[in-house]
Subunit: 729 residues, 2 copies
């Protein structure tokens, strides 16, 4: 056992330990949440419907996921037995193991987080009723924190633990530097499977959850508000529970799985690129020539590989500390509470990143790496603010939509369309500046992955804050349905209005992190396929074809999921109409609707409708890889990346702006509810629903999944010739 | 004077001669059109308003264009004096000359075509009144033919003539093969300016025309149909003439300039790539080493350069012949007439292309080049059919939108959105297959440019058929406004319904041709910047940044023009309201509204609002070139290309589908006009207006203009270093 190995073991053990602490703290918080008892009968009744629905959906979803995960892991194992691929590391039963662990951990984190959210929402309502604002803030934030802490804790634990195990199994403890290098290289390639596992779960969580929630939402709105003239969140609407369940499975579990995927994907890309960072000799040569690597070189490589994990670790610590501090104070204003927690977390991150950089690296390099992380942190914050700027009624764009809505629904839709498209400009400029600065500081693509790590190091806190939104949204719904006092509803309304802001910021953060993660994975793919020498030359017809198809896929994918929402909403409407017809007592409030049936419809639709889009996401890089080879697939990835990012930004911000234009009117401005103006803004809001909550967020998943599948098949691609190789002459 | 030079002169003279014939035939048709006298007072009155408005707009537009063209030509001349760029051919006063000729010819073709259209529309109405269907078909088609013949005739004449002149000036007649090669190379680079001229005019025609027409259309609809409850095309609506003028300046002059740009751009890219086709020695070496080229090699190069011009020439001939045949028969069904003309033209093209290929080339190569052209022809036809499939009420998608509209405007918008997105799939697959086959046949990117030439060789006929649509649309409007008999209106309605189909096909053709043209120009840019060796490697951060920004620009551009339409429509609505308020006699029909004022508003808005988008299109490649160099600009181009193509397809087909869903209801299905369902479909139709007629078609222009500007500055880029060169390490 060498000193170098000992160093790796100690560093990684610290990470493993602290990530376990994070999970434990989450469980403690969950226990505290459990301790809060609710005695209000109506609240309890509604809460139990929601919980039942959510758990029913999750169970069914996990069953399907289990089968898919099993199939993929069998395939991964079998591929390892193909004789011609024997040399291809990163394929075979070992990848299958990391894949299974990734999928399980990711699934587990989602389940715990969802359970916490489902509990937090009605307890928030009750705390608002009994003790007022401060306790309500704390309860809702606790619910979000459990998700945040579990996600980063479990993700980081699994990744680091597997990495350590495989590094040791591959011989990282040996005294020969060359053997150590090979162990490191193999261990990194093997944990890519872990990322694939998380990605697959995210696909189900985000796309399935997105279809579920919007089918319920659109269905409930159209038949409730429009046809039957009953208010939102009215217990007489059979689809209302499905709608509330949807908030939990879509906005909480879906968002959580999206950021889990980014978090893990970013770390994997940074690990991979860390292996090649600042090394002038080609990896090919190092692997094949045992004298090519010196122990000084290797010690440098180990540091660049460990650095991202260290940053993630201090991210976990700062999240724990910030949450603890936040919980120990009394808050009156939820916005202030969330802001303080975020700022505290960022500040702590900056200080500790500086220290770790100085400790691990020397002089100018330390400073440069520190600055790169800071760039990532600020891009993350900036991208959220841009989203808020384009979608909040505090700024001109939403007010302009309101103005344009005076000539009807069509001009409402057009102006929101235009706002979303415009918002791509500053968002892309910020992202591009981040890439530029990260590269300027480090002069290596490793820097770009590091910036992504910096951005996602705050994932724990970001998820905590983001999950707050749907929790208080639900809390408000429960207050409404339980017919609580206006005073209580004022509290939940106030909590909810802050949730709208955090939702916009969260969406921006998800998109930005998906973009940076995918770029990181794209460069990691380059290294894994040895494309550095040949490059991915856009001037080759095969690459052009790849870029074209890649840019088209997000449109096809969006079209399919939007269509799915429409179909499912239609089924929901028919079910509600049937229930009203069969039992007129429902509308009178004398008999209870069959909530379960509506949850069932959304569940079935979500699981059925996501099969085809899922196949596109998984199979298209594989088919492109076989036909067009590594280069053509590179083209497909970059085309898909930019196309899905633009669509994601456009859809999220158009949707958000329409939503808030409607809410602005509903606050009583310009005549308020019931006016023609209100009706016009409702159209844009409904159009925006599937865009911002189903298709838009699915774009994040699509591109990350395509990237990680490509990275997984990279070892195969370098061993075979593309079928259409004439396109690459 | 060598035999080789004589061969070139003879071939090009044939082209020059036949293109002059095309223009002369157009003038003969114009004279025949002039000979048709209209005695109906009301028709004449309305026609004179439209003509006046159209001419007024064109005059103002041409004044602005004149200034812009002058500025650009001065800049082009001045750049030639920069000492460090002395060696850069394709820059300087010579380019300035070709640029001026390109702009003038393009402008002239647009003006003649518009004049013809403005005359054809009311004469079609009157012919329908006096003589019935057959004469009406002929009159409207004659109007379109004049535009088609003028566009291809003038474009081809100018390009060929300039090419011949500069080839001679540069010494093409000399006996030394190396000097001949240099003359050929310089002449080709110089005529790129001709393409830039056409592109700049197209920018004004398409974007300005698009803003004009939709500002008038949306404004007229919202204040007429919605507020005042008067029917479409009612003379009491002050904006109605502006709306009719808009059809002419947007759908005819705009569409014509768009295809002119594609036509010229494609030929230029094919000429450029013809210079390098099937030559294994790098152009750098040939230019610098006088012994590198043999006369056999050169004779091969001359053939590949001349071939695209020959194809264009037979395209002109076949258009003339097809139009002649078509005019000499009696037609009852306009659809049959247009189809026959198109098929005849395609058949003639295929036969003569085969002959020319066999004449110019030998054996297998001849066959391969022939097949490549045929691929282009069929892609052009196929892409139109796909557009029709997604936007015609004969197929399931539009009927599905109608079904979804039963739950209101929001679901109408969502389903149309989804249809447009889905249509990108097959469209891209067809385009990609075309690229793949063209490359498979020729094993050279020259083949891809050739396929584009094949597609655009039918431009004369395509434009003739496309211009038919807006002409009969206007004819119908004039019949309506003149309160003609129902019998007459039945004829114009029938003509119009066929026009809807041709419009959809035309849009598809414009998009497809823009895509192929831009790919051709992109590869020509590669050759011009000597990028073949280094490639445009997506793995370089600078290229990734270029791709990101490129993909964003179409969104920014779309947002701006959509917004412009909104603003201008708003001004229009205010003007109409003011006129109604000041003179209540207008609505009673006792006094005439001020049509001129409304035309004025659209004119001003169109010219003012297009400045900023125009600057983006022209300046972004220049700025990107300076900051990111030739490679980064390559990234920007490919990102821009795929992003604008996807948006163009999506917007065109969503818009078309919404339009036809509304028209389907208006035909009386599902309860017809006035129902809630109808209102829901009107929303989608209005949303689609600026998408399909302003933003969507602008995408074609944006990407072609960016490509040709890049090609123009290529000689500069290879002489300077990018400012952010650290991104390309």
């Amino acid at each position: 056992m060498t000193d170098q190995y000992l160093f790796v073991v100690i560093m990684l053990s610290v990470t493993v330990f602290l990530s376990i602490v994070s999970v434990l703290y989450a469980l403690i918080l969950l226990k505290r949440l459990n301790r809060i008892k609710v005695e209000h009968e109506k609240i309890n009744a509604i809460a139990s419907y929601i919980k039942e629905g959510a758990v029913a959906f999750m169970k069914r979803q996990y069953k399907v996921m289990f089968i898919v995960v099993l199939i993929v892991s069998v395939i991964l194992t079998l591929i390892g037995f193909i004789p011609s691929l024997k040399g291809a590391e990163g394929i075979g039963y070992r990848s299958s193991i990391t894949f299974l662990v990734g999928a399980s951990f990711s699934g587990l984190a989602g389940f715990i987080g969802m359970l916490a959210a489902v509990k937090a929402n009605y307890k928030t309502t009750d705390q608002a009723r009994l003790h007022g604002m401060s306790k309500a803030i704390k309860t809702s934030f606790t619910g979000g924190s459990i998700l945040g802490l579990t996600v980063v804790g479990l993700s980081l634990f699994g990744l680091t633990f597997l990495f350590l195990v495989f590094y040791t199994l591959y011989g990282g403890y040996k005294s020969n530097v060359h053997e150590q290098y090979i162990a490191l290289s193999h261990a990194i390639h093997i944990v890519t499977g872990y990322g694939l596992g998380a990605s697959l779960i995210a696909l189900f969580g985000r796309v399935g959850g997105g279809i579920f929630t919007k089918a319920a939402d659109v269905g409930a709105d159209l038949v409730g508000k429009v046809e039957s003239n009953i208010p939102e969140d009215d217990p007489r609407n059979p689809a209302v529970i499905a709608d509330n369940v949807g908030d939990n499975v879509g906005d909480i579990a879906g968002m959580g799985s999206d950021l889990t995927e980014s978090y893990i994907g970013t770390l994997i890309s940074a690990l991979t690129l860390g292996l090649y960072a600042f090394v002038s000799i080609s990896p090919e040569i190092i692997l094949n020539d045992s004298s090519a690597i010196t122990s000084t070189m290797f010690s440098g490589i180990v540091k660049t590989v460990l650095f991202p994990l260290m940053i993630a670790t201090i991210g976990v610590v700062s999240t724990i500390i910030s949450i603890m501090i936040m919980r120990n104070r009394t808050w009156k204003d939820p916005q202030k509470a969330l802001n303080k927690a975020t700022y505290l977390n960022t500040l702590f991150m900056i200080v500790t990143t500086f220290l770790i950089s100085m400790l691990l690296f020397e002089g100018a390099l330390a400073l440069k790496l520190f600055l790169t992380i800071v760039v990532g942190l600020f891009v993350g914050i900036g991208i959220g603010f841009i989203a808020e700027y384009y979608t909040s009624d505090k700024y001109k764009y939403v007010l302009n939509i309101v103005e344009q809505s005076k000539t009807g629904g069509a001009t409402n839709v057009i102006s929101g369309f235009s706002v979303g498209m415009k918002s791509t400009f500053i968002t892309v400029m910020l992202l591009v500046s981040g890439i530029l600065l990260a590269y300027l500081f480090t002069q290596d693509i490793y820097g770009i992955a590091l910036a992504a790590v910096g951005m996602l190091s705050t994932a724990g806190m970001t998820i905590s804050v983001d999950a707050y939104g749907p929790i208080v949204d639900n809390a408000g719904g429960i207050a409404e349905m339980s017919h609580l006092d206006e005073q209580v509803r004022n509290i939940t309304d106030h909590l909810d209005s802050v949730g709208n802001t955090t939702a916009a910021i969260a969406k921006g953060f998800c998109i930005g992190s998906a973009a940076l993660t995918s770029i990181g994975l794209f460069f990691a793919y380059e290294k894994a396929t040895n494309l550095t020498a040949s490059g991915v030359d856009i001037l080759k017809p095969g690459v052009v074809i790849g870029v074209f198809i890649g840019a088209m896929l997000p449109y096809l994918f969006s079209s399919l999921v939007i269509n799915s929402v429409g179909k499912a909403a239609h089924l929901m409407i028919e079910e509600v109409r049937l229930q009203y017809k069969n039992d007129p007592g429902i509308l009178k409030g004398t008999s209870l609707p069959d909530y379960k049936k509506c949850v069932d419809i959304s569940t079935q639709a979500a699981l059925k409708e996501m099969i085809f889009p899922a196949l596109i996401a998984i199979l298209s890089p594989i088919i492109a890889g076989l036909l067009l080879g590594a280069q053509g697939l590179g083209g497909l990835l970059i085309g898909g990346l930019v196309s899905s990012m633009m669509l994601a930004i456009f859809m999220a911000n158009s949707g958000g702006a329409w939503d808030n234009a409607k809410k602005y009117i509903e606050q009583g401005y310009e005549g308020g509810k019931g006016t023609d103006l209100h009706k016009a803004t409702v159209i844009g809001d409904t159009v925006g629903d599937p865009l911002k909550d189903t298709a838009g967020p699915s774009m994040d998943i699509l591109i990350k999944l395509m990237s990680i599948v490509s990275l997984m098949i990279a070892p195969i691609l370098i061993q075979i010739e593309p079928l259409l190789k004439f396109l690459f002459k």
